[in-house]
Each structure stands twice: as C-alpha cells, then as structure tokens.
Symmetry: C2
Subunit: 418 residues, 2 copies
C-alpha cells in the first residue's frame, strides 16, 4: 500500500473511533486507562527490548548523550509513565459538562455543552513518554489520537502504542482509538497534515523547524507549542529578597524548559540594592551573565549582551540582564523581544502590578511568582499536553478541558424563526 492510502486508511479508522469515544462513559475510559497503566508495568521487558533497538541506532548515529538519555526507557521511567496514566484517571471527565444554559424571550433554552474535538494529531520529537501521556489525555477527553513520533524513537513509540492499545481494546475502547504512524518517511507527515477530512486538530511538539514545517503544510487547524523567551521585571517597589528568590528560581531551577527566564529587567532605582547580591547568587549556580552597557559599567566582569542575545531562548544557564529607566522601558522591551509565553513582574506596588497584567501580552502573566510555575499541574488543571502559544482556542497549558470544545444545545417547544 502506498503512503497516501496507508495514512488515509488509518485516519478513517481514527475518525470512526473518535465518534465512538465521544459518547463512551467515563467509567469505560477510566478502566481502560488503568488497564493500560498496568500493561505498561507488566510489559517492562518487552518495552525495554524495543527501546534497545532505538538506543543502538542512536549509538550508531552518534547522537549526543543528552538525546540518548531522553530516549532511554528504564524501569523507573516506565513506572512513571504508568503513574502518569493513573493521574489522568483521577481527573474529572470534561465531556458532557453543560457550561452554561439560559432562556430566551421566546421560551427556548440555549446551552453550551462540552464535547470532544474528534481526532487529535500529535507530531512530536524524541521522548517516548509523550506517546503515553498524549494518548491518555486524548482518550480521557473523548478524542482519538493520531500520533507521529520522531524516527529516532520509532521502535519505542510503536511498542508503547501497541501495549496501550492491546489493553485498551480489552477494556472496551474502539479500534483506532490510538494510532501510531510507524512509517519513517517524511511523506507520511505530509499526508497526515493534509488529512483534514479525518483529523480535526494538529499539535506539534518540538523544535522551531518542526513547528515551521507543520504550520506551512497543514490544512488542519494547528495549535502550536512554540518557544518561550520569558522575562522577569524587578520593579523599583519590589521586595529585594523575594525578587532574588523568584529570579533565581526562574533561571536556575530547570533552565532547559520553555518557561525559564532568559532576560531579567531591573528598575534603575532598585539595581544598587538588588543586583550585586543577585549576581553572586547566579554565579554560584554557574549562570553565565550578559548585560546592557549600564550593567557592564557597574560590573565589568559581565559580558556585553548583543542584539542577538536579547532575542535568544538559551534553554541553558545563561542570562541577559538589563537595567531600565522606568517600567515603560521594561514593557517595551518585553513587547519587542518576548515570545508571549510567560512574563513576570516583582513589585509591591498595586498599580504597577495591575498595569503589568493589563499591558503584557503573554499566555501567562505573573505577579510576584516564578515563570517556572507556568504549567498545567501547577495551575491545578491536571496533566497537560503542552503549553499553547497559539492565540485562539487555548493559550497556555492545554489540559483535558482544552482538548474539548463546546457545541450548542437548544430545548424548545415548537419555536420558529419569524
């Protein structure tokens, strides 16, 4: 079978499965997820054997140790995957919730009811645990899932999907609830992106190149999980100790994530009291610093930041520091360089806090808290499929609710249009 027909065939099955999943009871979905979790733990040897094939191929291609580490499935990680599934079971079923209902003058009642989207296509790179996480979230929210993982993890992804589906089918899920595209050929992705009659939403998770390809070629709506170039603005009215703790956490706690701080903006009036201690703390943690001319004039051991630096998502222990004349300069810097992901202000001044919330355009805007808290779990939404940087449907963490939409229901007793 050629790639086009192969993908179309799988898409058709996923659509049929999506239709059935939309009305299946929460009990069946939850029991299936529990059975899947058990199956992952039971099949550790089988999963590791397939994972070994990917690791061997990675060794031959001499991938970096960091990449090989991300690819590795050991017992601990498999158990974590299973736990992830059980956590999704514990979340409430979003499907069928009537979010609002009202009565019209002609007596008809109009309501909005939460329904699954249909078939969710996920295109991702590297980490095989995404396979299980995504499948669990999609199924719990009544969607079928159409997965396409990176070629370097193909054996691992394939066996995870197989184990999940074997358990799911036994527990009453429809065939096609989880589809894994196991063709390495890039043409398979292209066909997937054109399958708008079967796939309702594409979520790309990966680097800029992947997101660009998906956006340029998809005829299906795309919700991007794009880069985070995040700032923290330390206002003149900040509590210095709190500001140092927040900035330290935002940069150092896990620098490789999209919600880590890349640039710290410091009001000139607080810089003398705030910066020296902060610089010591950051240096002790191994952070390399780059500063605006003013910062460098205060501490010549800090390297001068280039225009490119302000524009770089380091994802590493590197930080830009800029001293600003006033809050307005901070806002303008964020507008010019921010990626509308996570932005924070530290201040004890209420007006400044409210102004920051109003003026800053980002998926999540923080007052007196670390940007690292931008996360579905931290926000109390439960597990997330990622952090959306698209401006429609859902901005920020995409949890179960964001994997649904609403439709209208109308209860009448003979109402007509006049």
């Amino acid at each position: 079978m050629d790639i086009k027909s192969y993908i179309a065939e799988k898409g058709k099955k996923a659509k049929e499965a999506g239709r059935r999943l939309a009305t299946i009871s929460a009990t069946i979905k939850d029991n299936a997820l529990l059975a899947m979790a058990d199956a992952l733990e039971r099949e550790i040897d089988r999963l590791r054997a397939e994972n070994q094939k990917d690791l061997e191929a990675a060794g031959k291609k001499s991938l970096s140790p960091a990449l090989i580490d991300r690819l590795t499935l050991n017992e601990k990680r498999i158990k974590e995957m299973a736990e992830g599934l059980r956590e999704v079971v514990a979340l409430p079923d979003p499907v069928g919730e009537i979010t609002r209902m009202w009565k019209r003058p002609n007596g008809m009642r109009v309501g909005r009811i939460r329904v699954p989207i249909g078939v969710i296509g996920i295109i991702y790179e590297s980490r095989p645990n995404v396979t299980a996480d995504s499948a669990a979230l999609c199924i719990k929210s009544g969607n079928s899932v159409f997965l396409r993982g990176g070629s370097e993890a193909i054996h691992s992804n394939k066996v995870i999907a197989e184990v999940l589906m074997e358990a799911g089918l036994k527990a009453g899920l429809p065939e096609g609830a989880i589809t894994m595209v196991d063709i390495v050929d890039r043409e398979a992705v292209m066909e997937m992106l054109r399958l708008d009659r079967y796939i309702d939403l594409i979520i790309p998770r990966g680097g800029e190149e992947l997101i660009k390809t998906v956006t340029a070629n998809s005829t299906i709506p795309v919700i991007k999980h794009d880069r985070g170039l995040c700032h923290t603005y330390v206002d003149e009215y900040a509590d210095i100790k709190m500001a140092q703790e927040i900035c330290f956490n935002a940069k150092v706690q896990r620098p490789g994530t999209c919600n880590a701080m890349e640039t710290m903006l410091v009001h000139r009036n607080i810089a003398p009291g705030f910066l020296p201690g902060m610089v010591v703390k950051l240096r002790e943690a191994g952070v390399e610093l780059r500063g605006c001319p003013r910062v460098v004039s205060i501490d010549p051991s800090i390297r001068l930041a280039t225009e490119g630096d302000w524009n770089t998502e380091y994802l590493d222990l590197i930080l830009n520091i800029k001293i600003v004349e006033d809050m307005d300069e901070a806002l303008r810097h964020i507008e010019a360089y921010g990626s509308q992901h996570s932005e924070a202000i530290v201040t004890n001044n209420h007006q400044r806090a409210m102004l920051f919330l109003k003026e800053v355009d980002a998926a999540a805007v923080f007052v007196n808290a670390s940007t690292r808290l931008h996360d579905g779990g931290q926000f109390g939404l439960g597990a997330e499929i990622g952090i959306s940087t698209t401006r429609i449907h859902a901005r920020g963490p995409m949890g179960l609710e964001e994997l649904t939409s609403t439709r209208f229901i109308i209860l009448g007793n003979g109402q007509l249009r006049s």
Copy 2:
C-alpha cells in the same frame, strides 16, 4: 511597491493597532462605533457613488440579477449598516472579564482573563455590508481587522472602510484599526494568508471554493464558515402539528441560508399521519420534493431522490424526504450526510430527545425547534461574524466572546517551583 511589501506593510500597522486596541477603554470603542454609524448615514451620497462603479462593472460582466441585488447599496441598506453598528455598541465589552479565578495550595491565585485575539483577517465575497459588520465586531472585541472583500464590490468596500476609518480616527482609534486590501490581484490574498507574523486568525466567508483555497494556503489559523446540510428528524412520538410547523419553517422561511433544512427524516410510524398534510403545505409554498423509494411509493408524484440529492445543500425551495425504520436509521443518515451544522429532532419522548442531543455531532442540536434559529441573535449572543463549522475555538455562532480568547494571570507572594 510590490504586493508582498504592500501587504506586509499593512499587516505591520494592523498589528500595532491591535496592540493598542487591546487595552483601549470600552467608552472609546463605543464612541468610535457610534461616530462610524453617523458617518455612514452622513456619507450616503459618497457611498452610493462608489457603489455605482461596482454596479456598472457588474452590469458589463452580466452578473445575475440576484448577485447585483446583493451588491447594491441603497439608502435603506446603508441605514441598516449604521443600525448594525449601533447594535454592537449596545452589547457588553467582552475584554477584561475574569472568567474564573481560583487559589492553589501554595497560596497563589490563578485566573483566566478574556483578551482580544489580535489581528483578525476576514476574506469574504459579495455583500458590502460585511465590511461594516465585521469591522464593528472586531473593534468592539479589541481586535484590529484586516479585510479582503470580493473584487466585484471593491469600490463599495473601499469607501465603506474609508468612511469608517475617518470617523474612527477622529474618535481616537489607532491608525490601522481597519485595513481594507484594495488590490484585486489574487496574489494579495495569498500574501495575506502567509502573514502569520501579523495576522492571528483568518475567517473566510463565502463559497466552498474560497474556503478550500484559504484552508489549503493559510499558515494562519483558520475558522471556517462552511456549508450547512441540515436535517430535521420527525420522531414517532412527535406532536404532528408542531412537527409540521417546525419543518415548514426550517425549509421555507429563508431557504437560501446555511441553517435551512435540506432533508426531512420521518419515522415510519408517524409518516401516515404526518406526511400527507406536510406535503400539501410544502407544495403550496412551491417546494419541490424528492423522496426515498418508500416516500415515492406512497406519493408517486414525488421524484425519486438520487444519492447526490442526499448530499446536496440546495439553498433553495427543494427538499429531500426519507422515511426511516427507526431512530437509529435517522442518526446514521445524519452521520453519513450531515455537515455538522444544525440538526433537529421533533419528539415528545424525553429519552429520544436526550439521545439525539448526545449522539448527534453538530455545532447546534435542536429539540422541538426550527434549525433556522441557529443564529447569534436568536441565541442571545448579539451580532455574529458568522457560524463556525470548525471544531476548535468556537463552534456555531461567532459573536464578540468568540472573537476573544483567554490568558492566565497569576497573583503570588513569592511562589517558586520546587
């Protein structure tokens, strides 16, 4: 200037305007809309003179009388456009509403706040009133609007946008709040669809060909306003008089609209009591009937429907009728042929009503009411920019709220990620 730079230049201005509109007060927006309404009424002669150019060109191209009628701007229609603007003023401003706020165990408050999307691109055909309607809805919801109307209405669209912007600028709107692409060349649309750095959402309004082109070429998220192939299922437990009134209204009241009924499904047990009277009523209104073999065997004067007929959105006084064995056959027919737009059941049986609401996948599902009521105004949402058939962000009427999304705001007192 070449088309690419021209569109990019306009897009950049629209983006800047969108940023300013996002935080402008409701009073300024409302006053601007009122000034625009007054300006339309004051400039009737100027609008009609430009419209005359389009009408003359249409005459030369011998467009159909129906199309020429849709294109015509007379005094009554211009006043209606102005009234439309005033109705939008009367609606509440959706921007800044905190839709939910909750507290996390670590003490931080997390909330969702309604914000504009940014720049809305609208690509539409024919009726020039769409220019004013779309501009009003986008501005009220804090978005700037990037319009591209049909070439046959170019002079009318251009002058409407000019009159609106003249009044808007005087009332404090930013330059670029309303942009009209006045290049007829199709390449201008293509450039617009690739302007993802400036335009945040594309809404195509028009025929299937337009929607296909937009979907295939846009790198910007698209919310489609696609066709409606709508059914009414008359259940065996329907009130016959109510069913006849609802079906008559759904077919005859305005057959050219996307929420009009195209196929009537009748339970076999109610057909003898329901159909003969219904057929007389429909025929009196000039409706041409096409039926399944069973319908034709009862009334041989009805033409046998072809497979193509069940798949056709007539938008005209033509109706398919099918007698079904049971409700399940009706559900399967709707699943196979429906366009997930508007679907209705007429029944007095509660279980049947609930089953229909649960099983039928459409933007709006009706119990005992006419599908013609699928409309933002009828639902109480105020004016709408169209009816979305996309499965994310908004299904059904897109009013002011659907022209916004939400972002997260976090109020902390030093919270960190551990």
